[in-house]
């Protein structure tokens, strides 16, 4: 038996040899083998094997395991340490270059981070709701004389209709008003807070997180549920439950619940309270509100097993059928209902002729793409500079290879350096992003923050660092490591024409992107300016607009107006039913001589009281102003005259309504077109009317005397308000500011895109600067010789700059077509748009060229002016 030398299990022994400290190995292995053989003799091979295994496992403990360092290492930790050390020394050695490289990359990354956060906000909008996939808004398409308009408002009757006849499709059908400011009074204290009238299913539908009470708190008609912050604002630390509140000095309600505030990233943000819709309907709404009054919203939550398309199919004729059955003439608009799912509310909210036509998704794409390109620019820079710079290290590579470095080790060396740069850039970019967050929030109008605690964010950051490091580092790593040592050492590797080609291509790509960005930004800015300079048709300066909150004012126009005028600070006063910069009320059912039988007319109407024309300073081009008794008269605008096909409208009679409600009006004047809706769209056909009763008036417009001091004027106006309406605080806005606010969204886009375009150009220039310095350095000797032979500074400057200028010109030419198409596409969303001028294109390319030339000239001139003796002497 002995002679056969039974040996212990091979793999166990190999494991033991792997971990055991080399100095202990022979002795312990000897012990183990000796024991093993004895055990075989004693109790057989199986037992001995098992015992051997146990011994080996029990030996696996500190003191016996070999240390990771020293002696013979398990890994290449030492090598990595050397990579990092060498990499760091290289960074520190050429500080300027490192600064450009890391700085450019960091700026690009910071921009990408900010845009990424913004995209995340936009793309996860409304996703805080658990029923995100099951909630939809009922919208309607209506045919107005061939043009299909889409409204997200509905008649309040739609709620019961859907519940009663189509209930199997829905878990909840909820009719609501709109989120608006309301006055809430508690004892003597009162505040204004935003909230909504909703049907009782809403808290369940939105899964409101209840802090107090239950979600069924709106079952009783006289109840209210508050958000945590509203409760805090009204009650402070007091317990709000079962306390009585008064809404708008009118409705008595009792607090039945408090829910957690909804986040800013949802369409129900600012829902400070919910009160029963039934209460609103019974106590605040007039009785005549019918199917024709689409004043409300209707939300549904689908039943679990019902698909959106099925429900859509089922309800899409619900309104048409009902209004037909009722014999209402609303069926002439062929209302068609549609379920607009919550996932599309935010980004796909526009409809054109009944079909979805994008919306904010346009900006998501736009900034996503720009962000990507800015980042790409920074990466290209990084790659370009690394390769340009690395060619100087050809000698180093040669020596390393001669001494025994392997190809793989060199690849790792260069990768380590690129990861170090990217890692540093990432750290700096995080700081930059945090620092510029307030500015970015201001421009974008969002309330974003760095999600430091989010693991997803960190994973994205790390993954991103890795990808950029790997991609950008790949070229120098593989290109340089493949140098032949003999060649590299014997003669310095001269960058051949072929070698610098990729670099040139990348510069062209960079500048093409920049030029496209510059042109697009210029187009955006000129379009906004163009729209802002559009003639208004009236004078909006010095007009303040204030809501009417009391019937004392509404029903006593003359007294109120006289009191205001007697202050001396006020020129004119007029009531209107909608805001003069945004007259949203449309009416139909007008009949005039020569109207086509099948025409579904639609007019924008404005009800006024007082000397509205004088207040607006509008221009009557035919006929006359309203007189005091003109309650059966219309003044129309030019567009309306065209719309009705009238050559001389004055004196024509128009009938409004049908049956008993019909009334006849005479057109007494035509007024010049005024912009009272969107500044980007053609002026709508408008009718101005002076009703006898002021019941529908919601706003008072006051023209302040141009000579009066505005602050004093507002103080005296407030006094008059207090006298007529002691219960409500005086609130007002300036009409010109309200108008300016219409440009907010576009201004935002303009400042964001111009910021990004600037950044792109800056990054490009950083790269160019780096490349130019590298070129100048490479050609020091050549320039010295040329100078000695008689070249002038101008000659040299031209020679050095020429290469770059050609590249930029090529880039400009490449950039033209995409820039043109992008601009045309962006402008197509505005009907009132600036004509595209070739000046914008030429100017942008010229600008890019100039900036590039300036950047390059610094190094070109510096080396051209240097003393040739110095450059030639050194060897």
């Amino acid at each position: 038996m002995r002679n056969q030398d039974p040996s212990p299990p091979k793999y166990v022994l190999r494991f033991f040899r792997w971990y055991c400290h080399p100095s202990l190995l022979p002795a312990i292995e000897g012990d183990l083998v000796e024991l093993y053989r004895e055990r075989i003799a004693l109790s057989g091979k199986r037992r001995a094997d098992l015992n051997f295994l146990f011994d080996v496992i029990l030996l696996f403990r500190p003191g016996i395991i070999r240390p990771t360092e020293g002696h013979k290492s398990l890994n290449q930790y030492g090598m990595f340490k050397s990579y990092v050390k060498i990499g760091w020394r290289n960074l520190v050695k050429s500080k300027g270059y490192s600064l450009i490289n890391i700085g450019g990359l960091a700026i690009g990354m910071a921009a990408a981070i900010l845009i990424g956060l913004w995209l995340h906000f936009e793309l996860t909008f409304n996703q805080n709701f658990g029923n995100y996939d099951r909630i939809a808004r009922v919208i309607q398409h209506q045919d107005f004389n061939g043009v299909i308009q889409t409204w997200n408002s509905q008649a309040k009757q739609l709620g019961p209709e859907l519940r009663d006849y189509y209930g199997s499709n829905f878990k909840h059908v909820v009719v609501t008003g709109w989120i608006e400011n309301h006055k809430i009074s508690y004892n003597d204290k009162s505040i204004r807070y935003s909230g909504n009238w909703v049907e009782p299913g809403l808290p369940d539908m939105l899964e409101l997180k209840m802090l107090k009470g239950t979600r069924s708190g709106l079952k009783d008609m006289h109840s209210i549920m508050l958000s945590a912050s509203a409760s805090k604002a009204i009650f402070g630390d007091e317990d709000p439950m079962d306390k009585s509140l008064k809404l708008n000095d009118k409705n008595d309600v009792k607090v039945t619940g408090v829910y957690e505030d909804l986040p800013a990233s949802c369409d129900f943000a600012g829902l400070g309270f919910v009160a029963p819709f039934e209460l609103h309907e019974r106590e605040n709404l007039p009785d005549w509100v019918e199917w024709g009054n689409s004043w409300f919203q209707c939300f549904v939550q689908l039943e679990d097993n019902v698909a959106l398309t099925t429900a859509n199919e089922n309800i899409h004729e619900a309104k048409l059928k009902r209004v037909r059955a009722l014999g209402s003439d609303d069926d002439r608009f062929k209302p068609e209902l549609m379920l607009h799912p919550m996932s599309r509310w935010h980004l796909y909210s526009n409809f054109e002729n009944g079909a979805e036509a994008g919306g904010a998704i346009r900006y998501v794409w736009m900034f996503g793409t720009i962000g990507f390109f800015v980042l790409l620019l920074a990466c290209i820079n990084f790659m370009n500079l690394s390769t340009a710079r690395a060619e100087r290290r050809a000698k180093e590579v040669g020596i390393r290879k001669t001494v025994g470095s392997l190809f793989n080790q060199l690849v790792r060396q260069f990768y380590t350096e690129s990861f170090m740069v990217v890692g540093l850039a990432m750290l700096i970019s995080l700081v930059l992003a945090q620092a510029s967050m307030p500015w970015f929030n201001g421009v974008s109008g969002k309330n974003l923050f760095m999600p430091w605690a989010s693991p997803v964010f960190w994973m994205a950051v790390l993954g991103f660092t890795f990808i950029v490091g790997a991609v950008s580092g790949s070229y120098p790593a593989f290109y340089l490591s493949s140098f032949k040592p003999v060649k590299a050492l014997k003669s310095a590797i001269r960058p051949s024409r072929g070698g610098s080609l990729p670099r040139k291509i990348m510069v062209v790509v960079q500048f093409s992107i920049s030029v496209v960005l510059i042109i697009s930004t210029a187009v955006i800015v000129t379009q906004i300016e163009y729209a802002q300079n559009r003639p208004l048709g009236y004078d909006n300066r010095g007009i303040i607009v204030s809501p009417i909150r009391s019937d004392d004012i509404r029903n006593h126009f003359d007294a109120f107006s006289n009191d205001l005028k007697s202050t001396g600070a006020v020129n004119e006063v007029a009531f209107t039913d909608t805001h003069i910069t945004d007259t949203g009320v449309t009416n139909s059912g007008f009949f005039w001589k020569g109207k086509a039988d099948d025409m579904n007319d639609e007019f924008w109407t404005l009800r006024t009281a007082g000397a509205f024309g004088k207040l607006m300073n509008w221009e009557i081009i035919e006929g006359r102003e309203f007189g005091a008794s003109d309650t059966s008269s219309f003044i129309i605008n030019e567009s309306a005259a065209r719309y009705m096909g009238m050559k001389s409208p004055v004196g024509e009679v128009v009938r409004w309504g049908s049956g008993d409600g019909a009334r006849e009006y005479t057109i007494i004047g035509v007024v010049k077109d005024m912009i009272m809706q969107s500044p980007y769209q053609p002026v709508r056909q408008m009718i101005f009317v002076r009703p006898e009763k002021q019941a529908r008036m919601t706003l008072v417009n006051i023209k302040i005397n141009a000579d009066a001091n505005v602050v004093d004027a507002i103080a005296s106006i407030e006094k008059v308000f207090r006298k007529h309406d002691p219960n409500n605080a005086f609130e007002y806005t300036f009409a010109d500011q309200d108008y300016a606010r219409k440009f907010k969204e576009e201004r935002r886009v303009a400042s964001l895109s111009s910021g990004l375009a600037l950044l792109a150009v800056f990054i490009c220039c950083l790269g160019l600067f780096g490349l130019a310095s590298y070129m100048a350095e490479q050609r020091t000797k050549e320039i010295g010789i040329r100078k000695v032979l008689g070249a002038s500074i101008g000659n040299l400057w031209r020679m050095m700059s020429k290469d770059f200028v050609i590249l930029v010109v090529i880039a400009g030419v490449i950039a033209l077509p995409p820039a043109y198409f992008l601009s045309v596409d962006w402008l197509s969303q505005f009907q009132y748009r600036v004509p595209l001028s070739w000046l914008i294109f030429a100017g942008s390319i010229g600008g890019a060229l100039l900036i590039a030339l300036l950047t390059v000239s610094y190094h070109a001139l510096r080396s051209a002016m240097a003393n040739p003796v110095r450059s030639l002497r050194s060897e």
């Binding site: 002995r2 030398d5 040996s7 202990l24 022979p26 002795a27 312990i28 292995e29 000897g30 012990d31 183990l32 083998v33 000796e34 024991l35 053989r37 146990f54 011994d55 496992i57 029990l58 030996l59 696996f60 403990r61 500190p62 003191g63 016996i64």
Partner: protein, 112 residues
């Protein structure tokens, strides 16, 4: 003050090395302890103890002959150093002092 540190198992190992004198190597020490004290000793526990004692300077080792039954691996023989002897003495005297300090009564009571 702990002048010398010697755990219970370490002390057993030291004593055994002393008993075996010139013939103390892994397997022999293990067997000696197992037979004398009738307790199981794993190779791992023994080897770590030996290494620790050597690191402390109580034991020294030398490589011995290679034999057929060890598949050509040398034996490592251990012997006690002078410092190790001191440590053992110290443990022994302190132990004895403690023993002596126990009052006789304790034993009396126990026998009753």
């Amino acid at each position: 003050m702990k002048k010398y540190q010697l755990g219970e198992f370490e002390e057993v190992v030291m004593l055994t090395v002393g008993i075996l004198h010139e013939d103390a190597y892994g397997v022999s020490i293990k067997k000696e302890i197992e037979t004398r004290l009738s307790r199981k000793v794993s190779v791992g526990a023994l080897q770590t103890a030996l290494k620790r004692l050597e690191d402390k300077g109580y034991l020294k080792s030398r490589d011995g002959e290679t034999t057929q039954e060890r598949a050509g691996r040398p034996k490592r023989y251990y012997s006690i150093t002078a410092y190790g002897k001191k440590a053992m003495e110290y443990t022994r005297t302190t132990r004895n002092e403690l023993w002596n300090a126990i009052p006789k009564v304790v034993w009396d009571v126990k026998t009753v």
